[in-house]
């Protein structure tokens, strides 16, 4: 077929996943147990006699559109009709559903869903299509080359014969899977690159979508857990007498995380917890607050750190520069606050365990639960649920909410299913924050205003140390997640040093949507505008001159600038700022148009965003992710901050851990760079540029650089100028 030019040889292209796929295809052909008449050619697609096509999604749907994207990849090569597509979450099974970007682990993160599934799921669709065609060939006794497939219908135009996928399913299941399949030439795509409706919109607009919090199993009890008021405390003793008097409370048990109140219903559990009296052993707690940590970090930033990148001779270049500028930036701890707080349901049976959770890392979660209940991982059946947001919070190295639910279930002897729920206060005060960081940057300009030296020091806790990811993300003592976005600074500067001080503190930290780029994009892009201002150079032109070897950066920078009307006059009291940043393989530029509100804080009126994410599998989902990332990043930059005083977190809920509200959401225009390259991610890369773009506009408006986030510190008079 002329439209199918690219032939993939088994094993040659996508490695492990492909081999596993082939093995499963064989298993299916040899009579894998499935319902009668169901065609299940591989681990990712199932076609039933009722003509539904079920896509088995190996990635969790957190809101990022992964289910829609995965279904698009299969449906494209299958030539299915979008209306016949159904989605089912894959079970936890690393042998079939591992993230090919992660190796032998199933999970979702690093904006990798489309990138790692791109070949694998199209191949799954193409294999199924080939077997449907083979079935039709056999039934109609016509040459395969004369058969067409379109919108879920297999046809032989010459004789007018046609059959739906469902009608051919049973016969297709008896076909031998092809040793090789052709994938479409991108010019023949019918779904990829076009807007297909999200697969989850309907259920999420009529209340029928089921999240972990919504699960109701027979005899299930609900547990809330009293956790330490200071990080590192442990239970010395507790008195549950009053708790046991609360109607609905069934039991109170001690678990590794604290004291669990188990009740019939959430409200009784919450009330029961309020009545607990706990004496905490605080000998090992972290008593330093955020002010003390920041002060210590500022001192450290004055000293050389471990080298993450070295190029040229920065000290010499700084010494001989015409001008040297310096700035110190501070970034607060940030909570993720997904709208659905953490939760998990566990049912312990004899020699087995079932778990329901919006898991981002099924393999690690399975292992953690297995350890908690004393079973082999294979005996832990994990059901991945829709997740009410995550932003990194549900990818927990210690699988905290799962281990909690498992340990409560175990403490109760496994008699009844247990749902552990976190309240919003538990979430805001529970740690696992984006770390607090201090950055110190120095740069040298030559007489012509060119940047000749760049010295960047980052101070903060390591996210990966002590986790299962340490072997991959810790190199020569450098946590790559601490320096990503800084160590790979794209600008052509002859002398560059990027250094890291990894600190330790008792406040648990975690990746937060866009990880290292949450702070490195800000310090690098905001400092660059301070340099441009000092040199009297235009920020877009200055970036462009230093990005000549980075065509994707240049492409988005020019696109965003031109669509934003960069250089065109604005009404009084408004200014534009720009930032460009690469994150997880995608490059995003944003131009923010900013005024000031009555408190003097930045008010963002409009954002023009350009994104290069390779082929946009679903451009509308790409736009939605850019819009949402801008709102997510902007709200955090404006308002969000976790502060700790004497070991206690000061914030507790959305009234004092503020996120963006609808009246603060700017107009957003998204422009997608046309690309023939394989897709990269869009869940996170839209976040990093917004805060520095706003800061850069604010610098133009006020002459004042913002060196400390959130911006709301400006109104409180707390902005620190370095």
């Amino acid at each position: 077929m002329p439209s199918r030019r690219r032939f993939l040889q088994s094993g040659a292209v996508v490695g492990m996943g492909l081999l596993i796929g082939v093995r499963l295809e064989r298993a299916a052909a040899q009579g894998d147990p499935t319902a009668p008449g169901v065609f299940a050619p591989n681990a990712f697609v199932r076609i039933a006699p009722d003509n539904t096509v079920t896509i088995i999604a190996k990635h969790v749907e957190l809101g990022q559109g992964a289910h829609t994207g995965l279904a698009t990849l299969v449906a494209e090569e299958l030539d299915a009709d979008w209306s016949q597509i159904r989605i089912e979450s894959a079970p936890a099974d690393v042998s079939r559903y591992n993230n090919l970007a992660w190796g032998p682990a199933q999970g979702t993160g690093g904006s990798s869903a489309m990138a790692n599934s791109w070949e694998q799921l199209r191949r799954a669709g193409a294999t199924a299509r080939a077997m449907l065609v083979a079935a039709a060939t056999q039934r109609w006794q016509v040459p395969a080359a004369e058969i067409t497939v379109d919108a879920g219908v297999v046809a032989h135009p010459a004789t007018g014969r046609r059959a739906t996928f469902g009608e051919l399913a049973a016969e297709a299941a008896r076909q031998t899977p092809p040793a090789q399949v052709a994938l479409k030439d991108p010019k023949d795509f019918k779904l990829i690159g076009r807007r297909t409706p999200r697969v989850d919109s309907l259920a999420k607009t009529n209340g029928s979508a089921v999240y972990t919090s919504d699960l109701r199993l027979p005899d299930m009890l609900t547990a809330v857990i009293a956790r330490p008021p200071r990080f590192g405390a442990t239970v010395k003793s507790f008195d549950a007498a009053a708790t046991r008097q609360v109607p609905g409370v069934v039991d109170v048990v001690r678990v590794p995380a604290g004291i669990a109140v188990v009740a019939r219903g959430t409200w009784a559990a919450i009330k029961g917890r309020r009545a607990l009296r706990i004496d905490w052993d605080e000998t090992a707690v972290e008593r330093r607050g955020t002010a003390e940590l920041a002060a210590a970090y500022r001192s450290l930033a004055m000293q050389p750190g471990a080298r993450a990148r070295g190029q040229g001779d920065p000290p010499a270049a700084l010494a001989s520069a015409a001008r040297v500028l310096e700035a110190v930036y501070e970034f607060p701890y940030l909570a993720h606050t997904p709208m659905e707080p953490l939760d998990c349901v566990v049912r312990l049976g004899a020699g087995e365990c079932e778990v329901w959770v919006g898991s981002q890392s099924q393999t690690f979660d399975q292992m953690a639960v297995a350890a908690a209940v004393g079973l082999p991982p294979a005996k832990v059946r994990l059901h991945t649920m829709l997740a009410g947001g995550s932003f990194g919070r549900r990818s927990t190295p210690r699988s905290d909410e799962l281990v909690e639910a498992a340990s409560v279930a175990r403490a109760l002897g496994g008699a009844r299913p247990i749902k552990v729920v976190w309240t919003r206060e538990d979430d805001v005060q529970g740690g696992f924050y984006r770390p607090l960081y201090v950055h110190r940057l120095r740069a040298g300009l030559d007489a012509g205003g060119r940047v000749v030296a760049w010295e960047h020091r980052i101070v903060g806790q390591s996210i990966v140390t002590g986790t299962l990811l340490a072997p991959r993300r810790l190199r020569d003592g450098i946590d790559l997640t601490s320096v990503e976005g800084a160590a790979n600074l794209p600008y052509a500067i002859p002398n560059i040093a990027v250094e890291l001080h990894t600190t330790t503190a008792g406040i648990p930290v975690l990746w937060w949507r866009s990880v290292g780029s949450t702070h490195t994009a800000y310090s690098t892009e905001a400092f660059l505008d301070e340099l441009a201002r000092a040199a009297g150079r235009d920020p877009v032109a200055m970036r462009g001159a230093m990005l000549q070897h980075h065509p994707r950066h240049l492409g988005v920078l020019d696109l965003a600038a031109s669509r934003a009307g960069w250089g065109q006059p604005l009404p009084p009291g408004r200014a534009r700022g720009v930032a460009v940043h690469e994150c997880f393989g995608s490059v995003v530029a944003q131009v923010a148009e900013v005024s000031r509100d009555s408190d003097g804080l930045p008010r963002v009126e409009r954002v023009v965003c350009a994104v290069d994410c390779g082929i946009a599998v679903n451009p509308d989902v790409v736009r939605a992710q850019m819009e949402g990332s801008i709102g997510f990043g902007l709200g955090s930059a404006l308002w969000s901050e976790i502060t700790v005083v004497d070991g206690r977190v000061e914030q507790s809920n959305f009234h004092d851990f503020r996120i963006l509200r609808i009246d603060e959401m700017p107009r957003v225009e998204v422009h997608i760079v046309p690309s023939a390259a394989p897709p990269t991610g869009v869940g996170e890369p839209g976040v990093p540029p917004i805060a520095p773009a706003v800061a850069n506009a604010f610098l133009v408006l006020t002459g004042r650089p913002v060196h400390r986030l959130p911006f709301s510190r400006l109104a409180a008079g707390g902005a620190r100028s370095s």
């Binding site: 749907e61 919504d214 109701r216 009784a268 709208m339 206060e425 959305f654």
Partner: protein, 150 residues
């Protein structure tokens, strides 16, 4: 034991008198489309209608409802609700979706009151409904689209 009128049905509930309407609706009646997000009327995920008014069910004791009619996302109906839900679908507003029941209940209450809302009307009515995915642009667009359809 008290009687609650929910989605057009009279239901006997046994919850303790101080139990917020949210937990009666979710845990006792099994209407889980209404969500818990904060428990202190700061996020709007728990929004239901009580006699047509948008109410944060997480801070309203079930016993305070009395004989008034409670409507949840599962029971919301009529042409305004239909227009809102259709606009939400057409524009693919949702991302994680967890807050969207509350968003829709607030939007339906707004459009019932103000058939052609301005952006300022939308800000005023919707500012108490948080969306961590920040789907706000599409929420606004969907409310305008629903208004046009009505």
């Amino acid at each position: 034991m008290a009687t609650l009128h929910v989605n057009g049905r009279a239901l006997e509930v046994v919850a303790e008198p101080d139990t917020p309407l949210l937990w009666v609706v979710r845990d006792e009646l099994g209407l889980t489309g209404t969500k818990y997000g904060c428990g202190v009327a700061q996020c709007g995920a728990c929004t239901v209608h009580v006699d047509g008014q948008a109410v944060r069910s997480c801070v309203m004791p079930a016993t305070a409802v009395g004989a008034r009619q409670v409507t949840t996302i599962e029971g919301v109906s009529g042409k305004v609700a239909r227009a809102v839900q259709e606009a939400w679908n057409r524009l693919d507003v949702v991302q994680c979706g967890y807050c969207q029941s509350g968003q829709i209940m607030s939007a339906v209450a707004l459009l019932t009151e103000v058939p052609k809302p301005t952006d300022a009307d939308i800000d005023a009515a919707m500012t108490g409904n948080l969306c961590r995915c920040a789907t706000y642009l599409r929420i606004r667009a969907a409310i305008h689209e629903a208004a046009r359809a009505l």
